[in-house]
Symmetry: C2
Subunit: 299 residues, 2 copies
């Protein structure tokens, strides 16, 4: 049996499964836990999708998103926990406590940072999205995924590949997209919901951010910032506290190395961290770490 | 034989082929004419790629782009002309004159506006990009396309689908992308060249444009503008004269109907036109036509 078959066949006989998203869940994690849960529900199995941090506004269009819970009813116990994209169990946040004493822990991920914990580990760093890892399981549990399940997986795939343009994309990513469209998912629909459903205020805010782009003298680093004052002036809202720093790297620069040095994480192409310090100081400290990484990835 | 087979088998025996792009060529047109030319060249056939308006800066990374000509040497004659994405032969611009008297005219397109002229017509309005129409011909002429040919076709496909998110995308689009990746094309590489290779000045200009977003009272129309003053202030350059209006439509609104009323053309999702009048007047007149189309596509 392939590892995916082992996980799928094992899940078939479990009585109550908890599927956990990581903190600050993204589209790949939410779409993949939901798709897996829907395949289990379609078989009449009991499964709960948990997200300690709830669901960001941009993903509230996902089918069955109302069934994602932020708390577990008192007294409910599970015989299986599936950790989705959690490098360590604690990445699931507050709800990770419900994994204590659970006899079967399944660890599904595609990030290099995963620590390999759990009784069953499905870990494929060549997958552009964890949806590519989850799809074979879904297909075994529910051989003909419905359009809603396909939409969950396509959202996962599109959001984790920037609509198929990250370096992580492989022919498998496109083959999966073709199959999900065949099952009724719409790339245009997903894109509109995730990326084009923004208010005029948020577009103006993006404009303000881009207008303020700063370039380093050697042209290798570009940055900008969004301040509370800009939020007020454009009438935009943001769901964050402190200073959230988002990094994008290319040409051999490892964004996650920079983010990790600042207490965050991510991929080489995209990473981030949160800081609690004055903006100028965060920029200055970040640029110092960026310089160090640029030295390691000399052009 | 399928229509693509007929075109491919016919081209095999032609002695000198002129492949014409439409005026203001886009990535789909340039990538598709180049891919077809490269398949012919690989067979040792003589073929010339012509573009009356040359090649926009963003597409100059395309393999063999240096072989795209804006003029035909005096005295050169062709036995075949391939019109790529030209609704009428005149859409090829100045170079269309070289089609006069040519015994075989091939018309390849995926736009609804094509008038069906020519001796051989390959016209598929279900194709998300003309690359999907051209690929089967390329495969017959040159069964194992090289990485450069695949890059031309992937650029065509990605630029005409907004990196796979337009409503025109079908499973065929993704299957083609998977095959082109298998042949050595890189979606990340194409995306970086086409979309991420912009100067800081042009990013700041985009920021200025987005900051100035205006929304109609009913929230159904949003618009902004880029002026010569903004170009000067941000240090950005633009390759256009007059006022170029770019339209995007969704929810049943037909952008090409608006553009056609103003003397331009395009698709329902994306269309455009050029105007020579003061900016305020162009905005006012355009909004009037937009209102009419919104009435036709009442929500």
């Amino acid at each position: 049996m392939s590892p995916a078959e082992t996980v799928a066949e094992t899940l078939k006989s479990r009585r109550n499964i908890l599927l956990l998203n990581h903190e600050a869940p993204d589209g790949d994690c939410l779409g993949s836990t939901l798709a897996l849960a829907k395949a289990l529900w379609a078989r009449g199995q009991r499964a709960t999708v948990g997200s300690s941090d709830g669901v960001p506004e941009m993903y509230r269009f996902l089918p069955s998103i109302d069934r994602v819970v932020t708390a577990i009813p008192e007294g409910e116990t599970f015989d299986t926990v599936v950790f989705m994209e959690c490098s360590v169990p604690e990445r699931a946040g507050r709800l990770a406590a419900h994994a204590a004493g659970v006899p079967l822990r399944v660890n599904i991920d595609h990030h290099v940072s995963n620590t390999g914990y759990g009784d069953l580990v499905l870990w494929d760093v060549d997958a552009a999205a964890v949806a590519e890892v989850v799809y074979p399981i879904v297909r075994i549990l529910h051989p003909r995924p419905d359009a809603d399940t396909a939409t969950c997986l396509l959202t996962a795939l599109m959001t984790d590949t920037g609509s198929f343009h990250y370096t992580s994309v492989t022919p498998r990513s496109f083959q999966l997209a073709a199959e999900l469209m065949g099952a009724g998912a719409s790339p245009a629909g997903v894109f509109r919901q995730v990326y084009e459903n923004r208010s005029a205020a948020s577009v103006r805010l993006l404009g303000r951010a881009l207008s303020g782009l700063t370039l380093s003298d050697d042209g290798r680093v570009a940055w900008t910032s969004v301040t509370q004052a800009m939020l007020r002036e454009t009438g935009a809202a943001m769901e964050e506290e402190g200073i959230h720093v988002s990094l994008r790297g290319m040409g051999g620069v490892r964004a996650h190395v920079i983010a990790e040095a600042m207490g965050g994480g991510g991929h080489a192409a995209a990473a981030g961290f949160t800081a609690k310090a004055p903006l100028d100081e965060v920029i200055r400290r970040t640029l110092t770490v960026v310089r160090r990484e640029l030295g390691a990835a000399a052009p």
